[in-house]
Symmetry: C2
Subunit: 211 residues, 2 copies
């Protein structure tokens, strides 16, 4: 034992934090948001309730941080798979071809939305957000809007290079291809495929009226 | 009393049916889908449980019919306000100006989504649909898809007159302006205004790339 260094407290904390996130996501997926409690998360994570209350002041805070962390881990895994610097992973790629870049990202989004590890807890959060205004405001601020701002940045760059009309509001423009995927996923109004993602990008950029 | 005609049984049935729909929508809005029961609906409507079971075989069936009825009543009220034949009310107007017709309908949709009489029960249904696959399939079939097919019909007419590209799939095309409204309403990712509805139509028809 003398040759082994005991894990320091920050590593212990990191392990508890990870266990709490995992427990929170598992429970919300199994029981739904309303029935997930701090007590339940603590029991499943094998930590004391007071450990959770030391770091977070409410169930909503723990759960939202667990989702932010899940998003970051997914992003890092995608970056590693693509051989990209994880630091740049959050940005939407800019190869100079807007349509190709958007198709890439939307195809990856479709894959992520169909991955149960992401989809099951996230559907539970989305369901509660529809009827829980406080949670919805936090989820937009901490999860949805930061994701949408990545599209805003990419669309702004395309406005500068002339690939996108300079007179449009990128925050609205992105909704033409992002929201259809969100609605199909949330309401089950259609299949989510790579071909569908491609079609959305083509229709949105080219427009529905004849040129 | 002899001069009064007793209400016949079909009128009594109609009154019970209306009371059941109203009770169902009120309860789902107050308690959520999961906690709404046939017993609760019967008690609030002032009818026996067996009256409900005579007409419907499950809670989902009663609730979905109540929503279909709510949609039809809203449509009829809108038709009356616009001085239109209620029989034609479900169709999207065709004045020959696609952009104007779509803006009209989407503005009305925005108003409806902000009307608590519609929004409160419908949010409860949408929330449950996200995590309840059986309910979601029925809601798409009975409520969402029939509504979307009205857009398909209008877009097909526009393809025939050359206002819309002939090579596109109208069932996907409509999502460019319908889904952004749905996502903002479901997830609270932005304001719902008439100006926003107009912008969506302009961006979708004209396209995001420079012409």
């Amino acid at each position: 034992m003398a040759t082994k260094t005991a894990p320091d407290s920050s590593r212990r904390s990191e392990r508890s934090r990870r266990a709490i996130y995992d427990a929170a996501l598992a429970l919300i997926g199994e029981a739904g948001y309303a029935k997930t409690t701090i007590e339940g998360i603590a029991a499943r994570a094998g930590v004391g309730k007071q450990t959770i209350y030391r770091w977070w002041s409410s169930k909503a805070e723990v759960l939202l941080e667990a989702f932010v962390d899940l998003g970051e881990r997914n992003m890092a895994a995608a970056a590693e798979a693509a051989g990209v610097d994880p630091g740049e992973a959050r940005a939407i790629p800019d190869t100079g071809d807007l349509a190709a870049d958007l198709k890439d990202v939307l195809r990856a989004t479709v894959d992520e939305l169909k991955d149960p590890q992401f989809a099951i807890p996230y559907r539970a959060l989305a369901a509660e957000g529809i009827i829980n205004r406080d949670l919805s405001v936090r989820a937009v601020e901490q999860i949805l809007e930061p994701g949408l701002q990545l599209y805003v940045a990419r669309l702004r760059a395309a406005q500068e290079t002339g690939e996108l009309r300079a007179d449009l509001d990128p925050r609205i423009a992105l909704e033409l291809f992002v929201s259809p995927i969100a609605q199909r996923w949330l309401q089950g109004t259609g299949e989510l495929t790579h071909a569908y993602a491609d079609t959305l990008v083509e229709y949105a950029l080219g427009g529905l009226a004849p040129r």
